[in-house]
């Protein structure tokens, strides 16, 4: 992993069109501003990982169609 040291107000460019800027630092919290094209999805990593994990679990549906077929909704 590339590690760079930045001060408040300084920024990092990723490629031509993504910029990360350190807005503020307060204790162990860092406020980061992100400029990116609108088609780039930006997520907090822990949330994205939850979604990814949920999708992977949901995709393991072998042998479960029978469950669905037998399920009678009230």
């Amino acid at each position: 992993m590339l590690v760079l040291t930045r001060k408040t107000g300084e920024a990092i460019h990723i490629g031509d069109d993504i910029q990360l800027k350190v807005i503020a630092v307060d204790g162990d919290q860092v406020k980061i501003g992100i400029d990116a094209p609108r088609n780039v999805d930006i997520h907090r990593s822990e949330i994205y990982e939850q979604i990814l994990e949920a999708n992977q679990q949901a995709a393991q549906t072998k042998n479960t169609l029978d469950l669905l077929k037998n399920f009678k909704k009230d």
């Binding site: 949330i47 979604i51 990814l52 994990e53 999708n55 949901a58 549906t61 072998k62 077929k69 399920f71």
Partner: protein, 143 residues
């Protein structure tokens, strides 16, 4: 066209019914084309089957059938991208994680799939609302 499926063997799909996920789904970024297949005898659920990855399929449902007061603000970028300025062509599906017994299965309300029924473009979006997570019980009344 014929599509190999996880559950139904080979099925014939009208190619106008193909749903495009431009960026795939989280965890399956290269699965870009899917089709919704009805489950015989069970109108509540459908299978979202990948085209090209025959072993990839999700069981999905209209979340409002299970959580009638489900409501969210999708971010404008996603709606803009899918050209969903109005709700007219908006279709929402949520992915289920199936468990045995079936009543213990869960629904992902945190990351619904939004579909433009007219253009067949779709995207799994991630909601900001903290009250939603990836595993809500499907049992009525369960929270």
């Amino acid at each position: 066209m014929n599509v190999s499926t996880v559950y139904f063997g080979e099925v014939t799909v009208d190619s106008s019914k193909i749903i495009q996920f431009e960026n795939g789904l989280p965890g399956f970024n290269d699965a870009k084309e899917f089709v919704l297949i009805d489950i015989e005898g069970n109108p509540t659920f459908q299978v979202l089957q990948s085209i090209g990855k025959e072993d990839l399929a999700f069981v999905v449902t209209n979340p409002f059938l299970i959580y009638s007061n489900y409501e969210f603000d999708a971010d404008d970028q996603a709606l803009e991208k899918l050209k969903l300025e109005t709700n007219e062509h908006l279709v929402v599906k949520c992915i289920l994680t199936l468990e045995k017994p079936f009543e213990q299965s869960t629904i992902n309300l945190k990351a619904p799939i939004i579909i433009n029924a007219q253009t067949r473009q779709a995207k799994q979006i991630v909601l900001k609302e903290d009250k939603f997570h990836t595993k809500h019980p499907i049992q009525q009344g369960g929270e």
